[in-house]
C-alpha cells in the first residue's frame, strides 16, 4: 500500500489539486446548481467514456489509434435516429444488407474450393481482382435500382428535420411505400446474393492460403442460411413489419434503435479491421493515417445521406411525460407518470439527460470491467495488452480476438452516439467534438488503461460542465469587482490545458504505465 502510494504520488497530487479546484469552484454556487452541474458532468463523462473505452481497448490490444471513432460515434447516432424516426427506411435497407452479408459470409466456404484451383500466382491475382470488381459492379447496378423509401434533402417537407419535428409532436408521418418498379423483386434478391457471392469468391481466391486448413460441416452453412432467410423474410413481410414498427410504443422502438446502432457499429468495426486495418499492422503510422482518412470519408458520407442541417432525435415516451404529478418529487410519481423532469434539492433535473445517461454509463463500465477481469476473452485481451507475442505463442488465435476487440470498441462508440443523440441532437460536428473530448480523456487517464479512460472521461465531463456553468454565472475574480465569464470556446480549451499540464508532469497519464 505504502509503495503503491509512493509510486503514484504525482497522480494522486494532481487528483487532489483537481478535486480542490472543483471544491473551490463549487463553493460559489448554490447546492442546487452544484448537483445539476455534477450530474451533467457525469452525463457528458458517460458519453465520453463510451467512446474513450472503445478507444483504449483498441489501442491497448491492437496498438491502433482509431481516429475514426468520432465519426463512428456520429454514425451510431444517425443510424439510431433512422430506426427510431423512419422504421420503413430501416426495413427497406435491411434486406440488401442481410443479403450482401449472406453472400460475403460464404467466403469461408469458397476458400475450400479456391484452394483446389491451381493457377499461376499472377493469373490468380488478376482473376481474383476481376471477380471482385465484377461482383461489385453488379452490386452497384442492382443497388441503384433497389427501391428504398428515403427522405428528400432538397424538399423541406420531406427532410429529416421535418420528420423528427413531427415525431417530436407525436404525429408520425407515415411515408408512402415504394415498390419494385425498375427491377423485379426476385431479380433484385438473386442479383444481390450472386454479386456478393462472386466478390466473396474473388476475395477467397486472393488469399487462399489462410483458409486451406478449414474443415467444412453444416455449421459453416448456418450463418449464411440464417442471413439469407432473414433478408428474404424482411423483403416478403416488408409492409407488415413497417406498419408494426410504426404502431409500436416508442420505448421499444428506442431500445431497438439502440440495439441496431450497436450492431451496425460491431459490423462496421469487424469490416474495418478485417479489410483495411489488417494489412497495415506492420506500418503503424499508416494505420493512423488510414483511420483518420476513414473518419473524414465517413463524415462526408453522413453529410451526403442525412444532410448538413441539425435535427433532433425525439425522446421516447418513458422520458417525456409532463402531466399529473410532474415534475416528480419521489420515485413512485416518476415511474407512474414517466416524468421528463424531477425535483432534486429544489432544482429541476431532466431524467433522460442527467439521470438515465450516467446510469447507463456506469452499467457499461461495470459490464466491460467484469468482461475484462472475469471472462476468458477478457483474460486473453489483458494478456495481449501485456505481451502479444507470448499470447500467440501459447496457441491462441490472436487475430480473431483483434477483430472482436475492434468490433466491440466501435460498437461502444456507436452505442454512445445513439445514447447521446436524444439529448444533444444530431449535427455533422458532433463526432469531431466528441473525438477531441475522448482523446483528452484518454491522454489524461493513460492511453492503454481502462480505468484511466473512465477517470479521464469523468474529469473531462466535470470540468466541461463546470466551465459551462461558470460561463452563465461568471467567476468573481479575487481582490477586484470584475466578474469573469468564460465563453463557450474556453470549455474545450480548459480541458486541453489540463491535458497538457498532466502530460508535462506524467507523460503516461494519470493511471497509465510508466515507460
Amino acid at each position: 500500500m505504502k509503495t503503491n502510494l509512493r509510486k503514484n504520488s504525482k497522480a494522486i497530487i494532481i487528483l487532489v489539486i483537481i478535486a480542490a479546484f472543483l471544491f473551490v469552484a463549487a463553493r460559489g454556487m448554490s447546492g442546487r446548481d452544484v448537483l445539476i452541474t455534477v450530474l451533467r458532468g457525469f452525463s457528458t463523462g458517460s458519453v465520453t467514456f463510451l467512446v474513450a473505452a472503445g478507444f483504449s481497448l483498441i489501442f491497448g490490444l491492437l496498438d491502433v489509434l482509431n481516429l475514426a471513432q468520432g465519426t463512428l460515434y456520429m454514425i451510431g447516432a444517425y443510424v439510431g435516429w433512422t430506426v427510431y424516426v423512419r422504421p420503413d427506411t430501416f426495413i427497406d435497407v435491411l434486406t440488401p444488407v442481410l443479403l450482401i452479408l449472406a453472400g460475403f459470409s460464404l467466403s469461408a466456404l469458397w476458400g475450400r474450393l479456391a484452394s483446389r484451383i491451381q493457377l499461376a500466382p499472377k493469373a490468380r491475382k488478376i482473376i481474383s481482382w476481376l471477380l471482385i470488381l465484377a461482383g461489385l459492379g453488379l452490386l452497384a447496378l442492382v443497388l441503384t435500382r433497389y427501391p428504398i423509401a428515403i427522405w428528400n434533402l432538397n424538399n423541406y417537407s420531406e427532410s429529416p428535420i421535418t420528420y423528427s419535428y413531427m415525431a417530436d409532436q407525436g404525429l408520425r408521418i407515415i411515408p408512402a411505400e415504394v415498390t419494385f418498379e425498375k427491377i423485379s423483386p426476385f431479380l433484385a434478391i438473386a442479383g444481390l446474393l450472386v454479386s456478393s457471392a462472386i466478390s466473396a469468391f474473388g476475395i477467397a481466391l486472393l488469399n487462399r492460403n489462410e483458409s486451406r486448413s478449414q474443415t467444412i460441416n453444416w455449421r459453416k452453412f448456418l450463418v449464411p442460411a440464417l442471413l439469407l432467410l432473414g433478408g428474404i423474410l424482411a423483403a416478403v413481410f416488408n409492409a407488415q413489419i413497417t406498419s408494426w414498427m410504426f404502431a409500436m410504443s416508442t420505448n421499444w422502438l428506442f431500445v431497438i434503435a439502440i440495439l441496431i446502432a450497436i450492431l451496425s457499429g460491431v459490423g462496421l468495426g469487424a469490416l474495418m479491421e478485417t479489410t483495411l486495418i489488417r494489412p497495415l499492422y506492420s506500418r503503424p503510422i499508416y494505420q493512423l493515417m488510414l483511420t483518420l482518412g476513414l473518419g473524414t470519408i465517413g463524415l462526408q458520407i453522413v453529410q451526403a445521406v442525412w444532410g448538413r442541417p441539425e435535427f433532433v432525435w425525439p425522446k421516447p415516451e418513458f422520458f417525456t411525460g409532463t402531466g399529473g404529478a410532474c415534475p416528480a418529487t419521489n420515485l413512485a410519481d416518476l415511474l407512474e407518470n414517466n416524468c421528463s423532469t424531477v425535483f432534486l434539492l429544489g432544482g429541476r433535473v431532466r431524467v433522460y439527460d442527467e439521470i438515465f445517461i450516467p446510469i447507463v454509463g456506469i452499467i457499461v463500465l461495470i459490464v466491460v470491467w467484469i468482461l475484462l477481469k472475469r471472462s476468458r476473452i477478457g483474460m486473453i485481451i489483458r494478456a495481449g495488452v501485456q505481451d502479444r507475442q507470448m499470447v500467440e505463442a501459447l496457441g491462441i488465435n490472436v487475430r480473431r480476438v483483434f477483430t472482436l476487440v475492434f468490433a466491440l470498441g466501435v460498437g461502444l462508440a456507436t452505442f454512445g452516439g445513439a445514447l447521446a443523440a436524444p439529448s444533444t441532437g444530431l449535427t455533422p460536428v458532433m463526432g469531431e467534438r466528441l473525438l477531441l473530448s475522448a482523446l483528452i480523456a484518454l491522454a489524461i487517464g493513460g492511453l492503454t488503461s481502462f480505468p484511466g479512460a473512465a477517470l479521464g472521461s469523468l474529469l473531462v465531463g466535470l470540468i466541461q460542465q463546470f466551465m459551462i456553468k461558470y460561463g452563465q454565472i461568471g467567476i468573481p475574480l479575487p481582490f477586484t469587482d470584475v466578474v469573469f465569464k468564460p465563453s463557450p470556446p474556453l470549455v474545450p480549451a480548459s480541458t486541453v490545458l489540463l491535458m497538457v499540464i498532466v502530460l508535462l508532469i506524467l507523460p503516461g497519464g494519470l493511471l497509465g504505465s510508466k515507460e
Partner: protein
C-alpha cells in the same frame, strides 16, 4: 561516369521545373492568342486563370513541404500542422484589416508568431513522444479552430463565414498584379525546396533522419535530440506560416476550414501522394492533388471530396511510398533497362 556535383547538376530537376513554370503563363497565353507582352501586362483570361491555379498549387506545396520536413524527415507526426498555416493566414488578415499595419511589419509579425508557436509546440516535445505528441498537437490545433469559429471573435475572424475584405497591398494584388504574385510564390517555393534539400543533406539534417529512424540510438550517440526537433519545428512552422500568409493575400476570404483537422489531412494526403520523406514528393503531390480535386469538382460536384478520400485510402493501402518514392525504388530496376535500350540505339564504340 564522372561525378559532377556542381549546384546546377545536382538540382537539375527543380531548376527545370522553375524555368518551365516561369514560362508556362506565356506559353499558355499563346493558345488563346495573347502575346507575351499582354501577359506581362496581366491581360488574357486563360493564362490568368492558370496562374491562379498555379499559385494555389504552390501554396499547397509549401505547406506540404513543411509537413514533410516534420513528418517525413524527422518523424514527428503532428495533427495540428494546419494551425501553423491558419494562424499565419488569420494574423495576416487581421493585421492588414483591423490593425492596418504596414505590409512589411505584418510579414515580420507573422514570422515572429510562427516562431512563438513552434516554441509553444516544442514545450511539450521533451516529455511527450510518438502518438502522445500527435494527440497533444491535435488538441492544441482543435482549440485554435474552436476559438476561430466562436462567436466571441466574430469581429476579428468572422467566425464560420470567414475573414473577408482583407486589403492587399497594391503591388502584389492578385487581381491586378497576378503575374508578379505568381512569380513570387514560385520563387518562394523553389527557394524553400533548395534550402530544405541543403538542410537535409547537412549534418543537422542527418541527425533529424537519425531521430526518425531511432531516437534512442541518436540520443545514445550524444545528440540532444530535443534541440534538433525544436529547430525542425521552427523551420517547418516558418514555412507553413509563409504559405499561410500567401493564402491570406491570394484568397478573397479566409475560411475557418483551413484551421481544422481536414486541412492537416489534406497536407498529409499531398505528402502521401508524392511520397513521404522525399521533399520533391510534396511538390508532385500538390500538383496531383490540386489538379485531381479541380477536375473532380468540375465533373462530379459535391461528391468529389468523397472520391478524394477514397484515393487517400487507396494510397495508404497500396502505394505507401507515393509517386516519387515508388519511382525511386523502381529506378534501380529500370535504369539498366533504359541503358540497354539506349545501347541498342546508340552505335557502340
Amino acid at each position: 561516369m564522372k561525378n559532377n556535383s556542381s549546384f546546377l547538376t545536382k538540382n537539375r530537376g527543380i531548376l527545370i521545373f522553375f524555368a518551365v513554370m516561369l514560362l508556362a503563363p506565356f506559353l499558355i497565353g499563346l493558345f488563346e492568342g495573347s502575346t507575351p507582352l499582354m501577359i506581362w501586362g496581366n491581360q488574357g483570361s486563360l493564362s490568368k486563370f492558370i496562374e491562379g491555379l498555379g499559385i494555389e498549387i504552390f501554396i499547397l506545396a509549401l505547406f506540404a513541404l513543411s509537413f514533410d520536413l516534420l513528418f517525413g524527415i524527422t518523424g514527428l507526426l503532428s495533427f495540428g500542422h494546419a494551425m501553423f498555416f491558419a494562424v499565419a493566414a488569420y494574423l495576416t488578415g487581421i493585421a492588414l484589416k483591423t490593425l492596418a499595419m504596414p505590409f512589411w511589419g505584418v510579414v515580420l509579425l507573422v514570422l515572429l508568431a510562427a516562431i512563438v508557436q513552434a516554441l509553444l509546440f516544442s514545450l511539450v516535445l521533451p516529455r511527450v513522444k510518438g502518438i502522445t505528441f500527435t494527440l497533444v498537437s491535435l488538441g492544441l490545433a482543435s482549440v485554435f479552430h474552436i476559438i476561430v469559429m466562436s462567436s466571441d471573435m466574430i469581429n476579428l475572424t468572422g467566425a464560420d463565414v470567414g475573414l473577408q475584405g482583407v486589403p492587399v497591398p497594391a503591388f502584389i494584388s492578385p487581381v491586378t498584379e497576378r503575374l508578379r504574385f505568381y512569380v513570387i510564390a514560385l520563387t518562394l517555393l523553389v527557394a524553400t525546396y533548395l534550402f530544405y534539400r541543403r538542410f537535409v543533406a547537412s549534418p543537422t539534417g542527418r541527425v533529424c533522419v537519425a531521430i526518425r529512424e531511432n531516437e534512442d540510438r541518436a540520443k545514445m550517440l550524444g545528440y540532444n535530440t530535443t534541440i534538433f526537433k525544436v529547430v525542425v519545428m521552427i523551420i517547418s512552422s516558418l514555412t507553413a506560416a509563409t504559405a499561410g500568409m500567401l493564402h491570406a493575400l491570394y484568397q478573397p476570404s479566409i475560411s475557418p476550414s483551413i484551421a481544422d483537422l481536414g486541412f492537416t489531412v489534406t497536407g498529409l494526403l499531398i505528402v502521401l501522394i508524392g511520397g513521404v520523406g522525399t521533399l520533391s514528393g510534396a511538390i508532385v503531390g500538390a500538383f496531383a492533388f490540386r489538379l485531381l480535386d479541380f477536375t473532380l469538382r468540375r465533373f462530379m460536384g459535391e461528391s468529389a471530396s468523397f472520391i478524394t478520400g477514397a484515393i487517400y485510402v487507396i494510397f495508404v493501402l497500396f502505394v505507401p511510398y507515393g509517386i516519387v518514392g515508388t519511382i525511386r525504388m523502381r529506378q534501380l530496376r529500370t535504369k539498366p533497362g533504359w541503358q540497354r535500350l539506349l545501347g541498342m540505339v546508340k552505335p557502340k564504340n
